[in-house]
Symmetry: C2
Subunit: 126 residues, 2 copies
């Protein structure tokens, strides 16, 4: 049972739910409104559709429903990364890594994490 690919708008909503956890439509909408302008019912409709598609779960026990992401952030990341590496980076994951490191600031701590990870790989190979 493979997850179907979320659309652009759906991804924005998933992003919010991954970050904030289970939320009401209102909460998601407020957050969305910070960077985008759309009516409340638009957000509602999107979330209802996502629920039907199985991208979200919802608790309808009270009048105001509570929605949560039904797909994991990591799984979705993998899916999208794979596609992107394939079509846009000519199949080379390392090319993507270099691009990402080159143009998007990372903290020292994060860079250390990456170094650590590379070291671990190296060790495994011996």
């Amino acid at each position: 049972m493979k997850q179907q690919k979320p659309t652009e708008s759906e991804l924005e909503i998933l992003g919010i739910l991954w970050e904030k956890g289970a939320s009401t439509v209102r909460e998601v909408h407020e957050k969305l409104a910070e960077t985008k302008d759309a009516g409340y019912t638009t957000t509602l409709k999107l979330m209802q559709i996502m629920y039907e598609k199985g991208l979200l779960t919802r608790d309808a026990s009270s009048k105001t429903h509570i929605y949560a992401a039904a797909v994991s952030q990591q799984e979705t990341q993998q899916q999208l990364l794979s596609k992107m590496i394939d079509t846009v980076f000519g199949g080379s994951a390392s090319q993507l890594v270099l691009q990402a490191l080159g143009h998007h600031k990372s903290s020292d701590k994060e860079l250390d994490q990456i170094r650590q990870y590379l070291n671990d790989i190296e060790k495994q190979q011996r």
Copy 2:
């Protein structure tokens, strides 16, 4: 003059043109057909639209037109990476890097390239 965002299908075509260089519709279509099935005129139409949008250039001097990507691979990569980091990786580029390294095989040579890059950054900071 900002490049408009290519659609999913358009990206596939761009990917082929980046890899193979300037090509005819037929050539692109053959390549596309390996992984997808669509009619020839569908590919043609797509490429015509991309030309109108400015995503492709074309040489129409002979009957069979020759198309080429009008947007750079790198610029497009940046654009898509930024968006993806933002919505799917909670703004953390390093998180994306770790995911990419973790799930997509890279050769030793490529990993060395990445280590080298990290070393360079480290040096710059002192």
